[in-house]
Amino acid sequence: MSVDPRDLARSTDEALVDARLQDATAVPESSAADVATAKRSRRERAIEAALQIRGRRQWAPPKQAKPGAPLLEVRDLKTYFRLESGTVRAVDGVSFQLDYGEALGIVGESGCGKTTTALSLVQILPPNARIVGGEVNLMGIDLVKKTENQLRRYRWREISIVFQGAMNALNPVQRVVDQIAEPIEQRLGEPKATARAKARALLEVVGIPKQRGAAYPHELSGGMRQRAMIAMALACDPAIVIGDEPTTALDVMVQAQILELLERLRRDLGLSLILITHDLSVVAETCDRALVMYAGRVAEEGAIGEIFRRPRHPYTQKLLSSFPNIRADRRTLEVIPGSPPDLRAPPPGCRFAPRCTFAMAVCSEVVPPEITFGDVRVACHLYPPGSDGAQVTVPRPNAIGASVPLVEPPPDLPPMEVPA
C-alpha cells in the first residue's frame, strides 16, 4: 500500500493545481465562470464532484460499508455528562444526515451541544461524558456500537476534525510537516519518506509554501497555523472533515481566506464538511444546509436559503436578527431576553419556551415534534403536523431598530432583563 508521491501529485488532480495558481495571483474567481456554473445548484455540483473523486482515494471504504447507505446518518443521538450535581443532557435526541460532498453547518450559542454532537460522532468525549442512546451510521456502519479499538479505523481515516485553537491543537515542539506526516504513517502505515512527501504536497494544497513545513507552530501566523490544521485533517483523505469553530480566532481577511480554502477543497476533493460554529455568517457563506441547535435539541434544520431567508423557528429568527449585518440597516439588532436553560433540569416542553415571544400553553408542556415541510425540519408548536408550514414571523419589540432613536430610548421599551 505504498504511494508514489508523483502519483499523489497526479491524483490530487489538475483542478487543485489550477486553484493553487489562482491563489497565487491575488485574484478571486472569475465572475463569468461563476455565473455560468451557478445555474446548477452548489449542492449538485458538490455531489457530482464527490462522486467523481471518490475513486481518487487510494484505499477502499470500510468493508462493512453498505452500498447505497447515506454517508452519515445520525439518529436520535443522546450524549449526557455526569456531574456531581446531576446529569447534564448536553445532546438530547439529535438527528441529521450528511450526503457525499455536502456541507452542513451546526449553529447555536455556547452550551447548546454543537461541539458535543461533533465529538460524539467519533467518540472523543471527555471521560465523564457518555453516549446513552442513538445511532451514528457512517456508510451504514453504526459507530456507537464500535469498541475503542475498532473506532481507530474510522477516526482520521474517515472522519477528521479541525480543532478550534490551532495553537493549542498543534504540538509546539514538532515541525509542522512531521505533524502532518504522523497520521499518514500511523493510520495508513506508509513509510516515513512517503508520508513526508505527501505532507509537503498537502501543505501546498492548503497554501503553505513547501519550505515553511520545516517551521515550528510558533513560527507561523494564526492563519498559517489554521491552514496547517486543515492539511492535517486532510492527511488520510477522509470522507468527512469536521471544523470546530475553524475561523473563530482569526481576522476577517484571514477568515475569508480560510473559508475560501475550505470551499475549494470541498469542490476539488469532494469532501463532506460539518462546520460547528456560533457564527451564522460562516454557515451562510460555506454550507448547503444548516442545523440550528438550542439546548441540546434541533430547533430547525434545512437548506441554507430556507433557514436564512425564511427562518421558521422563533429561535432561528431571533438568532438571525441579533447578528450584525453590514449590508442591512444599522442598529437593527435584537436582544434575546433570558438565557439558555440549565440542562441538568431542562424545561419539560419546548426548551426555548421560557424565552419565546410566541410561547403558548402547550409549549411549556409538550415537547414539539420535529415536522418536515419540504426542505425544512422544524420543532415548534407554531408549525403543527398537517399545517402548511408557512413562516410565522415573530414580532420584534426588542430590536434596537433603525426607527428607534438611539439617544433617547422609547418609553415603551421593556426594561432590560438580567439573565438569572
Binding site: S30, V35, S281, P324, N325, S403
Partner: protein, 377 residues
Amino acid sequence: MSDGGLAKTADGTGSPHDVLYRLQGMKVHFAVRGGFLDTILRRSRGVIRAVDGIDLELRRGEVLALVGESGSGKTTTGRVIVKLTPQTDGRLTFDGKDVTDLWGTTALRGYRRRIQLIFQDPYETLNPKQSINDFVMEPLVVNDIGAPRDRQAATFAALEAAGLRPASDFAFRFPHELSGGQRQRVVIAGALVMDPEVIVADEPVSMLDVSIRTELLRLMLDLRAERGLTYLFITHDLSLAWVIADRIAVMYLGKIMEIGPAEQVIRSPHNPYTQALVSVSPTPEPPTPGERAKRTILVGETPDAAHVPPGCRFHPRCPYAFDRCRVEEPPLFDVGGGQSAACWLAEGGRSLPVLPHRIQEPVPSPAATAIGAELPA
C-alpha cells in the same frame, strides 16, 4: 436615524465639533530586544512601529470605532489614551489640556477617573478570588475616593447601572458564579464606578455569544444616553462597528487608512483596504454568486510592524497599486462629508472605482487611468 448620536452632540453644542480628546502625530515604537550582547553594547535590533503617526479626534458624546486586524495598532492606540503605554512621539490633548507628559500615579489620578478602560476577556480581567463587590469598589479604595459608606453606595449604583439588578444579589458572588455576559457587565460596572467621561472599550464583546453581545451593546448605548459617555470602541469586526459607531476609523499597520461617519465609510469606502474589508465582512445571508464574485480577498497577511513597506504601507496587497504608491506615502485626503482616506486615488476627493470585480476585467476608470494606474491583468 442613521447618524443620531453624532448629529445630536454636533448640533447641540454648535459647530465646530466639541473635541474631547485629540491625538496629533502619535507614534508608538517598540525596540526589538536582541540578545544579551546587544543589551551590553546598547545596540538596537530594529524598531517595531506599532503606531506610526496618527491624528485622531474623539468628539464628546460620540462612539468612535477603531477597526483593524491584529497588528494594526488599534489596541496600542487605546492603551496610549488610557496612559498604559507611553507614546514615542506626538501630542495628546484631553478636554483642552495638554496631557502628553502627564505621568505618574499621583499626576494621573484625576485623569484616570475620567478615562476608563474595558478589556476584552472578562474571564481574565476578574480576579477569581475577589468578590464582585470588591472588584467594583477597588478603584474607589485605591484612589481614596469617598467615605466607606459612599463607596458601598457607589458600587451598588454602578452594578445596577451595568444591568446587574438588584445589586445585592450579585455583589457578594464570585466570578465563577456568573455567566460570561454577567462578567462583562461586572467589568463595565468597574469602569462606571469612577463615573468616567470616556470609556475605551477594547473588543468588549468579542468573547460573547451573539445574543448576549447585543444586550451589552445596548447597555453601552443606553449608558451613553444616560450619562453622556464618549466611547472609543476598538474592534476587529467591521459589522460590529457598523452597528454601534457614529464614526469609524480603519487602521492598517499603525496608520489610519480611512476615517469618517459610519454610513459613509461602509457604504462608500474611499480606501481600497476599507473596500476589501467591507467586501469580505461576513453577513448572516447566503451570498449570491454576484456578491461572491465582487469579493476582494486580499492575499497574504498584514506584514509585521518591524518591516513596514515603503510608500503606502498597503501597496503590496493593494489591487489598485501603481508607481506612486510604492514610493510615496499618501496623507489623509478629505473626500467630503467629514470622511477622509489615505490613498492616492482619493486625492482631490475623487472616489474609488467602486468595482472590486474589476480586478479581473479591467474597466478603465477615468480616475485610475489619469494617474497611470497599473491594473493587474
